[in-house]
């Protein structure tokens, strides 16, 4: 009797290639998440420079930074930091995704290719202490953004709102026989059930990086609010997709 190999199923390594996309399709269930959100007034010119023509700026212009920690997701735990521009699409309040840092390669690919978040790989941390929270994001070995919130006090969860997100993405297409990528504006409406919320006083600091830090594009002129939430979230398919 020839000798059998000993690599039984229980010993299979996680590195075995799966016959599946690199990321599961939406919707993604994201239970037990923690989100820190800071809103601040910023400058008009960069807001207008970075918003697509279909979107308009608010008065005054503002930006939003979120640090989101997802202990459970279809691609395993991941954390992401987003920088958004507060804007209007017609009559409605929206936030436009400007840049993101994510710490999980599979999440990075999915967020980029599935939803259009302009992610780069990096480090993201979100820590809560007594009455305070600190979050940092870094990429290419240096810090890009740090948000601190002090004096956290509980507030009613239903007071906190998360506005629908807008992203830009390229959609493969053909014009005749020639590949022609369509630029699209996608609206994503995460379902967010907020279980706990606290509000505090926030500060935003951008890191100095060799070669410049793109996060400084939206300078923090006046912090409006800072909240820390515990949520169960779901990241669905884009709700609307419109041509650029």
């Amino acid at each position: 009797m020839p000798d059998q190999g000993r690599l039984t199923e229980d010993l299979l390594a996680h590195a075995v290639p799966a016959i599946a996309p690199l990321y599961p399709p939406p919707p993604w269930k994201l239970p037990g998440a923690r989100i820190l959100k800071v809103i601040f007034e910023t400058d008009s010119d960069p807001v207008l420079d970075w918003l697509p023509p279909k979107l308009t700026r608010s008065s005054p212009p503002y930006a939003v930074i979120t640090f989101e920690q997802y202990p459970r997701s279809p691609v395993g735990p991941f954390s992401v930091a987003h920088q958004f521009i507060g804007c209007r699409a017609g009559h409605f309040v929206r936030v436009f995704a400007l840049q993101s840092v994510v710490d999980n390669p599979r999440a990075l690919v999915a967020l980029r290719e599935g939803w259009g978040f302009p992610c780069v790989a990096g480090t993201v941390s979100l820590r809560r202490g007594r009455g305070r929270a600190t979050a940092t994001a870094g990429a290419a070995g240096s810090g890009v953004c740090e948000v601190s919130v002090t004096g956290l006090e509980a507030i009613e969860p239903d007071l906190v709102r998360f506005d629908p997100l807008l992203t830009l993405r390229l959609s493969p297409s053909l014009r005749g026989d020639v590949r022609h990528d369509l630029v699209q504006l996608a609206q994503i409406d995460p379902e967010t059930e907020i279980r706990k919320a606290a509000r505090g006083k926030g500060t935003v600091t951008y890191g100095d990086r060799p070669g410049g830090n793109t996060w400084t594009t939206m300078p923090c002129r006046n912090v409006v609010s800072a909240v820390l939430c515990e949520v169960d979230s779901e990241l669905p398919f884009a709700r609307y997709v419109i041509p650029y």
């Binding site: 809103i39 008065s59 017609g90 009613e156 007071l159």
Partner: protein, 379 residues
């Protein structure tokens, strides 16, 4: 039912050297015509920093000009920001009394606290505290008007004993109102004996519960002024034309642009989670009326009860408000000059000629203030 017009003085971009002048002149012409046609009130907001949406940051000046050009129409602060970071309550009392004198007792004194971060943030005013600030200021102002002297030690302002002058022309003082955009504020208006100045553009159905609660609670109120101003004022858009189709074409432009400009302001509840602002306020009322709140482009804007249509349609719509117990309706008649001035004026003429006579204009209770020709000389 009584009728009024309501001015935000919105100035759409692109702005030219006379854009604001044109808007102000048009608005004053509208007030002058409304006075001649028998409208009862003209209101002007106080807003700050709300670019395009409202360039009416010094309404007392606008209303003083209106007073000089009119005879009978009552002039309303709709509303004065009485929060100390915006206006010291003494300055509120002084300016209002002066306007009351200039207009020979035609002032309606609306009070409010702002619903936008655009304004509150601009004055570094804590959104959590505005309700308390408003409450303190509206308690003090009627005392400033009626007492020979006043001193005040409050949470948000204090002053040693002084004589706040001039005193209002109406005695004991002008009717007082509060801007109401939520059921909670309607209750607070009633508890204080203040008029309910509805400022959210809702439907009669949405107002009905609010009116009932207000009427019930005001019966047992503790008036902060010298009299109870039990009146409910609703607000909506007005464009009357010969046909429904023509009116709706212009009424839609009016309402859509009003909502579009409003959407670009930052409502407190959008960016600052606080129990002090659970509803979005006047500015954002129309958005909820869209077909799909989350659709990229927005929804329909002509809603039940709006003063948009032929005279017959508008009469029918206003009767809905009358039936739920609204005493007065004030109308937004233009925004950013999207309706040509001649059309606005013609709409007012059609309203006065055909709509006003068809509605019961004697049912509204009078305010408790009266005009006297003399006031005792201070010793």
């Amino acid at each position: 039912m009584k009728f009024g017009i309501f001015h935000e003085l919105s100035v759409g971009k692109p702005w030219g050297p006379v854009s604001e002048l044109d808007v102000y002149n048009n608005a004053l012409d509208q007030v002058e015509l409304a006075d001649k046609l028998g409208f009862d009130q003209a209101w002007a907001v106080e807003h700050h920093f709300l670019e395009e949406y409202s360039h009416c940051s010094a309404p007392e000046v606008f209303l003083a000009a209106a007073a000089a050009r009119t005879e009978q129409i009552r002039l309303g602060h709709g509303v004065m920001m009485v929060l100390p970071p915006f206006n010291h309550p003494v300055r509120c009392a002084e300016r209002a009394a002066t306007l009351d004198i200039i207009s020979k007792g035609r002032l309606e004194f609306g009070t409010g606290r702002s619903a936008t971060w655009t304004e509150l943030g601009g004055f570094r005013c804590d959104p959590d505290l505005t309700k308390e600030m408003w409450s303190e200021a509206v308690a003090a102002i009627p005392k400033m008007w009626t007492q020979e002297t006043i001193s005040w030690e409050g949470k948000f302002f204090s002053m040693p004993e002084r004589s706040v002058i001039p005193k209002p022309y109406q005695k004991p003082h002008p009717p007082m109102w509060v801007a109401v955009s939520s059921p909670e504020t309607a209750v607070q208006a009633a508890e204080r004996g203040l008029g309910c100045l509805g400022v959210s553009i809702g439907t009669p159905g949405e107002y009905e519960r609010r009116v009932k609660d207000y009427r019930r609670i005001i019966r047992g109120c503790q008036p902060i002024g010298e009299f109870v101003n039990e009146q409910v004022n609703g607000v909506t858009f007005l464009h009357v034309a010969e046909t429904d189709a023509e009116a709706q074409e212009w009424g839609t432009k009016l309402a859509y642009n009003f909502a579009y400009l409003a959407a670009h302001l930052i409502g407190i509840s959008t960016v600052y989670p606080t129990a002090a602002y659970k509803t979005p306020g006047l500015l954002f009322g129309l958005r909820a009326g869209g077909r799909d709140e989350k659709a990229p482009g927005g929804g329909g804007v002509i809603r039940e009860g709006m003063g948009v249509g032929s005279p017959q349609t508008v009469i029918k719509n206003l009767r809905m408000w009358e039936e739920i117990g609204v005493d007065r309706m004030v109308f937004i008649i233009n925004t950013a000059e999207v309706v040509p001035q001649e059309r606005v004026l013609e709409s007012l003429r059609l309203f006065a000629e055909h709509v006003m006579p068809a509605l019961n204009r004697t049912a509204a209770p009078d305010a408790g203030a009266s005009v006297v020709e003399s006031w005792p000389v201070m010793p």
